[in-house]
Amino acid sequence: MRQRYKIKTFLYYLPDRDFILKIFPSVKICSYILLNILILINPYVFLNILSALLILLYLYLIGFVRYRESLFRILFISLLLFFSISYAFQLISVGVSNITWIDVEETFFFILPFFGKWLIINMSGLLLFVSLSQGELVEFLRKLRIDFRILVSVTIAFNMISRLLEAIDEMNMSLDSRGVRKSDLRSLFGRIQHIFVAMIIDSIEYISSLRATYAFDYDDIEKEYEK
């Protein structure tokens, strides 16, 4: 028998009793902020890449990579594009006709630190989102005495993440069952366009409902946050 466990986080998957769940939310958020500051000032590029790979390994071991394969595929493509485009631009700036192997090597080592920083920012952000629930984040922000309207906006924005993930799954399923393939690049773009259109339609109704609910319940929401 197959068993699956769902945990109440933004991205909804962590094994039960994982050590990361035991860390206080405020510690997680502060560590994330601290880590990002360190990344900006840290000159050791391989340390950044190594840390990013360790986080990736952790995400793999807890099964998150397999659970959200498409997300990691997109992330991998975007990182590859980031690296390739930066590399190409850097080489062009040297002058295409004068490129030597030394330029290629130097450019590689010039870009690597930026790439390393970008990689760790992505991975640590992902880890935070995987391991933190929306309620925990809002509670943390509330302790900082942030205005309730901002808290509501944060809540809605993060609700959108889980909602979008659910919507994309349903849309993909619907497109699959209606024979809309992703066999080549053209059909893949067509499919993305279809999903984009459906997202807009779905979001129009969602936003309109939310605006109305917010207006009807404004007083109650304000009181609730001020408790």
């Binding site: 769902k6 909804y12 889980s162 619907s174 809309v180 605006r211 609910t213």
Partner: protein
């Protein structure tokens, strides 16, 4: 002082269309009144509710001639805090991630209410981890918990199991003592508690009746002709799902479906009906465990219709994914549009269709791909009796020339029992 709602609409139309959606709607209600609005798919029920709540024209555009007054005050910004609205897609109104936070008020009062409504049994799960029926129930319960003068409920009984329907209907009756309730529903159970009725007549107008109610002695009959079935056409392994904060597991039994078999899946909200369908469609199962049949033979109609509309017009949507439209396909497409009451709407953008029309359009589009298995999740949601009959007519016509296994989930077990070869009770 008694609350009073006065609705006098000469006509109403959306900004982007020339036609009038509503004409000559005139009625008054006071405390203790429960108005039941019903009529065919696409007649403007939800539009009317949005007008009464002031969502149109304050949050959505439209041209209204007439007036809607709550205690003599025009519906608008000044009346917002006196109104509450439960949307048909109620997960759109759940602002917070946890169930408890959807209820505003004194902690003890909320705790007591949640226990009374049986919501505490859902545990500490996130709202997005609940099934659609459970989300609907939470949204309804939180709507009815608020102290308001006017409650507006769009299809409140949709997706709810029998037990939850009873609880909600009791709560509606309780709330109506000091407030006005306006309810739009295809579910005839509402007739048991409503004391006023607004019906969409054949002449295309809403008729208000304050004294008599429609009676439903005969449940209409839906029959799909039986076809010869091949055993074990499709097999699904036993599975188990568990959520954080909820000791209860969703257990899905192993399942075998025969070719041409019609299988009904019934069970309380959150028991795993949709999960079974998703497992069959191969989205939850890992690739190595996907069913032996490829996606091309699957048709999946899920609960949220807005997430299944991708094209710019009804016609484009119908032929979505079909590369070469043969004369035969075109003829069949015309037949589907006619039977589903979508003829004349070919160039309309699907976003302007009603919930029921969208549902029929998606089903029509699925049938254009000659599926061998259709998975219909809560098919009867959004649909009136006439539409359900039409769908069964179309499905039986399809089955005359094709093999088609149908797997349905719904709360209306009576209808399912009538049409299904096999029933699965979860």
């Amino acid at each position: 002082m008694k609350n009073r709602l006065k609705v006098k609409i000469k006509d109403f139309g959306y900004d982007n269309s020339t036609g009038k959606i509503l004409q000559a709607v005139d009625f008054s209600l006071s405390d203790g009144d429960i108005l039941w609005i019903h009529g065919c798919v696409g007649c403007g029920k939800t539009t009317l509710l949005k007008l009464i709540a002031g969502i149109i024209p304050n949050f959505e555009d439209g041209r209204l001639r007439g007036e809607i007054l709550l205690n003599g005050i025009p519906i608008g910004e000044r009346t917002y805090t006196e109104i509450t609205f439960c949307f048909q897609h109620s997960d759109n109104q759940l602002l917070f991630d946890s169930i408890r936070k959807q209820f505003f008020g004194d902690i003890n009062e909320v705790k007591e209410y949640i226990e009374k409504m049986g919501i505490d049994k859902l545990g500490e799960r996130a709202v997005m981890d609940l099934s659609r029926g459970e989300r609907k129930y939470v949204a309804l319960a939180s709507t009815l918990f608020k102290k308001r003068k006017l409650y507006i409920l769009d299809e409140p009984l949709d997706l709810l199991d029998d037990n939850k329907k009873k609880i909600i209907m009791n709560k509606i009756t309780e709330v109506s003592r000091n407030a006005i309730l306006v309810i739009c529903s295809h579910d005839t159970n509402i007739s048991l508690i409503a004391n006023k009725e607004l019906t969409y007549d054949e002449d295309g107008k809403f008729k208000f009746d304050g004294t008599e109610k429609t009676t439903f002695d005969n449940i209409p009959s839906y029959i799909l002709p039986k076809k010869e079935s091949v055993e074990n056409f499709f097999l699904l392994d036993e599975q188990e799902y568990k959520y954080e904060g909820n000791s209860e597991c969703i257990s899905i039994p192993s399942l075998s479906i025969g070719e041409n078999e019609i299988v009904g899946i019934v069970g309380r909200n959150g028991c795993g009906k949709t999960t079974i369908l998703k497992s069959i469609a191969g989205t939850i199962l890992s690739k190595s465990e996907t069913p032996r049949k490829s996606y091309s033979v699957f048709g999946f109609l899920s609960q949220n219709v807005n997430r299944q509309l991708f094209a710019n017009s009804v016609k484009e949507e119908l032929y979505l994914g079909i590369k070469n439209i043969s004369k035969e396909k075109e003829k069949y497409g015309e037949f589907l549009l006619y039977e589903f009451g979508l003829k004349g709407l070919e160039n309309t953008h699907p976003v302007f269709l009603s919930g029921g029309q969208k549902q029929k359009l998606i089903l029509a589009s699925l049938l254009m791909h000659n599926p061998e298995i259709v998975l219909l999740d809560e098919l009867f949601t959004n649909l009136d009796v006439v539409s359900i009959k039409k769908i069964f007519f179309v499905l039986s016509e399809y089955r005359k020339n094709n093999n088609l296994s149908i797997i349905l989930t719904d709360q209306q077990s009576q209808i399912l029992k009538e049409i299904c070869d096999k029933m699965i009770y979860l």
